[in-house]
């Protein structure tokens, strides 16, 4: 069923206008965010900082590929444990001492933001602010889509030109397919984890009612550390795929997508896996489809001509993330608990 769903998504992407980045990225960030939100929905103000932080860490991990002059696969493999450890270290260094001292939530939040800024500016200092392009040679050809010559199809197209040919003559980059697969694998893995694992139960308990969890013998601090670890791993997967997809990287790349991911989670319903995925999906679809909305033509039809020179840009692609924020504000206004309730 999952495979069938994946194929449907692939078809949908193929049928779309090709602007799939938003959707796919949002999907992945949604998962990365899920962990962060899960652990913090009791102490909720920290969440978004955690996310931006984790995502920053994810990008940080992916940068290893650029920096260490490693082949991509090796870098990607290294990035996941590295980021997970980093996230755990951040938890131990930045959160735990404050948790123990019962610091005000604003202080904790700002400490998290501070770590995030420090990471980001460390990258800025170390690599400079310019955008770095990932060298083509370092990526396997199957992961970099190129136009296919006529007559090439099937496995060969996928292996050499990085393009999947689907029923009906549509084509989809292999990378997009891979992202969908990774996404499905992670989601089903997480769903399984939460269905079957006692550690997951402990995480939910530690987040929901810390003191009650402690009385029941759950080592709350350690469990939260584990959640950070897992969240870091998932976020770094997102970061790695992001780098592959955009083929370039700059140190500040993590912040806006992180924020976007949080908006997507709020939109879907904080603390619900279904909600995060739905929110990510909705944001992705809206972002992909928004540029096609002919706002300019409508404005010309509806508004007096003298107004036109004073209007803001009506090309919705200029508003990229802004659309999701507006969507988020709208949905929160109508349904404060988001699309799905926990």
């Amino acid at each position: 069923m999952i495979a069938g769903g994946g194929y449907l998504v692939l078809l949908w992407i193929g049928a779309g206008d090709g602007n799939t980045t938003g959707l796919l990225m949002a999907l992945l960030f949604g998962i990365g965010t899920y962990f962060a939100t899960l652990t913090w929905f009791s102490d909720t103000t920290w969440r978004h900082s955690v996310i931006s932080l984790l995502f920053g860490a994810g990008v940080f991990g992916a940068t290893l590929g650029l920096v260490g002059r490693l082949p991509f696969a090796a870098a990607a493999l290294l990035a996941v444990p590295f980021t997970a450890l980093l996230a755990d270290g951040i938890y131990g260094g930045g959160y735990l001492p404050l948790l123990r001292r019962r610091a005000a939530r604003t202080s904790v939040l700002l400490s998290a933001l501070g770590i995030s800024i420090a990471l980001e500016s460390y990258l800025l200092v170390a690599w400079g602010s310019q955008r770095r392009v990932f060298p083509v040679g370092r990526v396997p050809p199957a992961l970099s889509a190129r136009p296919i010559p006529a007559g090439v199809a099937g496995l060969r197209a996928a292996r050499e030109f990085g393009v999947l040919t689907l029923v009906g003559g549509q084509t989809v980059p292999v990378l997009d397919g891979l992202i969908v697969l990774v996404f499905l694998a992670v989601v089903s893995g997480l769903a399984l984890f939460f269905r079957a694992s006692r550690t997951a139960d402990a995480m939910v308990a530690a987040a929901d009612a810390p003191s009650a969890a402690r009385t029941c013998g759950i080592p709350v601090e350690r469990v939260l550390g584990q959640a950070f670890f897992l969240g870091g791993a998932v976020a770094s997967l997102g970061g790695t795929l992001y780098v592959l997809r955009s083929r370039s990287l700059d140190p500040t790349a993590g912040f806006s997508p992180g924020l976007l991911a949080f908006a997507a989670c709020v939109l879907g319903g904080v603390g619900s896996l279904r909600g995060s995925i739905a929110g990510a999906f909705v944001s992705g679809v809206v972002m992909s489809l928004a540029p096609a909305v002919p706002l300019e033509r409508w404005a010309r039809l509806l508004l007096p001509a003298s107004w036109l020179p004073f209007l803001p840009s009506l090309n919705l692609s200029d508003w990229s993330y802004g659309i999701v924020y507006i969507l988020m504000i709208g949905i929160i206004l109508l349904k404060p608990e988001g699309l799905f309730r926990r």
Binding site: T45, L98, T106, S107, V108, A263, V266
Partner: protein, 579 residues
């Protein structure tokens, strides 16, 4: 009349400080003056941000958005319409204020975390709007060539170098706003900000219109932050949308964290330390040719270390209102009367008709009816989960009934917001401790009061056995905290018509319980308010001598009668003790 010594000392210190502030730029070099200007600008923003983050405790992550609103309003009005800065300044305040109201109306209803994300999103939206609204904001090019600032009676423009003119200009804006904040803090409104931070539920029950208070705080703060944007624009004379990013919001928030949340002096100290060190680092880096990015690395690292060492900031906020009142001895105190004294009435003060309330699948109340005559005392007993506390919540407006009607003095109470009911003389106590541990006992009482003297507070505390009001509430034993809740409720008993008490003696010793009964009886003898008391304490009920006892079971009236009959009733016995 002679001034108390501490106030006189304070005035002397104030004079010295103002002389230093006035003479300072004449004594030091231009570099220092421009740093001082930056500090003043940050102080202004920090004071504004402190109103919403420090006082009401709402996390505003969108400060950069309001700075941008102020800066762009200034740039547009000065450049396009050629208005002088002194005209633009009020426009700028109004623009920020309006933006605060517009953003506040939809967002302030929501919980803390949502509010934080919404403000963050707002700031990003403002930046995007500036970039995309090219005809008005010049889009991604930014605004440059903002006219030089001139002030009346001074022909030459205030030049940027040397910035002495700007320093005084900023001082002239920041000082009144500082005093405004200090004044605001001690007004009833300033205390209502603190109530929002402490507990919105308590605020509602004590007659605070929480949403209005939040909206005022948010828009005031937005207006003041925009004033910071005004200074930013007239000094820089060119602005670009990318400056107003999340990093700026974090930086502005860090001013408060370093200084100490909630304390206006702390905001200034934080601005002075963070602002001047950032400026100094910037100059240091420029003169040695290091990349500027190191600045944020240093800043962020220092911030993380600082928060770890001193999470509460340098000057933590310790509100102490009652000692101040005592010091002032009645002078300069805002006296305000919220409730007029209530006259004698007859009939029923409270009528509950067929009220139902369900939480998802749990039916807490299912057609509960009860009439409470004026001056009556009714005890409500029932097993756990029978809907007692829900009933109180529904009566005082904290929860809305799904069906049925509640009439309070012949008005539909279920249609009234809780703060209106509270102002009309309906009071309630809480079963769990609802007092604020960070405040002293007397300040806890004062927090929800209006127009009272220290003596009245002391007598209200003494009535419930708290002799020393200056102890921090966190140090009080459980029984005293419960007593404090009652003392707060009965501060001005003549204003109460009906009092709803939720387990007033739970967790108290027998002697403490007896004292509560005695105090309640004495109060009722004078003030004749009606009472609805939830209690399981048989000794307490015996001493209280209620007119009627109502037994509630599964959200319905199970039995209603005199205490002696209820005590003999076989069904009630079975309900509580089984066979």
């Amino acid at each position: 009349m002679t001034l108390p010594r501490s106030i006189a000392m304070r005035r002397v210190a104030m004079c010295v400080l103002s002389i230093i502030l006035m003479a300072f730029p004449l004594a030091v070099g231009d570099n220092m003056v421009s740093i001082a200007f930056v500090v003043l600008q940050y102080s202004l923003i920090a004071l504004g941000l402190n109103i919403i983050v420090g006082w009401t405790g709402l996390l505003d992550l969108g400060a950069a958005g309001f700075v941008a609103v102020g800066a762009y309003a200034t740039a547009i009005y000065m450049t396009r319409f050629g208005l002088p800065p002194l005209v633009v300044f009020p426009i700028c305040l109004v623009a920020g204020f309006t933006a605060g109201i517009l953003l506040g109306i939809p967002t302030l209803r929501h919980r803390l975390d949502y509010f934080a994300v919404l403000t963050l999103g707002f700031a990003e939206l403002v930046a995007l709007a500036i970039r995309n609204w090219t005809p008005v904001t010049r889009g991604s090019f930014g605004y440059s060539g903002i006219p030089a600032t001139t002030v009346p009676f001074h022909d030459a423009p205030l030049r940027t170098v040397p910035p002495i003119g700007f320093y005084y200009f900023a001082l002239a804006i920041a000082v009144p706003i500082y005093f405004f904040c200090i004044w605001l803090r001690h007004t009833p409104l300033g205390r209502e900000f603190q109530i929002v931070k402490h507990s919105e539920t308590v605020g509602r029950v004590y007659g605070v219109n929480i949403l209005a208070v939040k909206l005022i705080a948010f828009s005031l703060s937005a207006g003041i932050i925009s004033a910071g944007g005004f200074l930013w624009a007239i000094y820089q004379r060119s602005i670009v949308w990318t400056e107003f990013n999340v990093l700026l919001s974090c930086l502005l928030l860090s001013l408060l964290i370093v200084g100490g949340l909630g304390n206006p002096n702390g905001a200034i100290v934080g601005a002075a330390i963070v602002g001047s060190s950032l400026e100094l680092i910037r100059r240091f880096l420029t003169s040695f040719g290091f990349p500027q990015e190191i600045r944020y690395l240093m800043f962020a690292t220092a911030l993380v270390v600082f928060i770890r060492v001193r999470p509460a900031g340098l000057l933590p906020d310790r509100p102490s209102w009652v000692p101040r009142l005592r010091r002032l001895d009645g002078r300069g105190v805002m006296e305000g009367d919220r409730v007029s004294c209530l006259g004698v009435e007859a009939g029923n003060v409270l009528e509950i008709e067929e009220v139902a309330k369900a939480f998802d699948s749990v039916k807490a109340l299912q057609g509960f009816s009860l009439s409470i005559p004026h001056e009556a005392c009714i005890a409500l007993i029932g097993p756990n989960g029978s809907g007692k506390t829900t009933l109180l919540n529904v009566i005082c407006g904290l929860a809305r009934p799904d069906a049925g009607a509640i009439r309070y003095r012949n008005q539909r109470a279920d249609k009234m917001p809780p703060f209106r009911l509270a102002r009309a003389g309906l009071g309630r106590s809480f079963q769990d401790l609802s007092v604020c541990d960070d405040l002293t006992a007397e300040d806890n009482v004062f927090l929800t009061a209006r127009g009272v003297s220290p003596r009245l507070i002391a007598s209200a505390l003494a009535r419930f056995g708290i002799e020393d009001g200056s102890v921090p509430c966190g140090d009080l034993p459980y029984g005293k905290k419960k007593a404090l809740d009652l003392a707060r409720l009965f501060l001005q008993p003549s204003r109460l018509r009906v009092v709803l008490l939720d387990e007033p003696t739970a967790g108290l010793t027998q002697r403490e319980g007896q004292e509560v009964v005695r105090s309640l009886a004495a109060l009722r003898e004078w003030h004749r308010f009606a009472m609805l008391v939830i209690s399981h304490d048989a000794m307490f009920l015996e001493a209280l001598k209620p007119d009627r006892v109502v037994v509630i079971q599964q959200g319905k009236v199970f039995k209603d009668g005199e205490l002696s009959t209820i005590r003999q009733d076989e069904d009630v016995r079975r309900l509580f003790w089984g066979n």
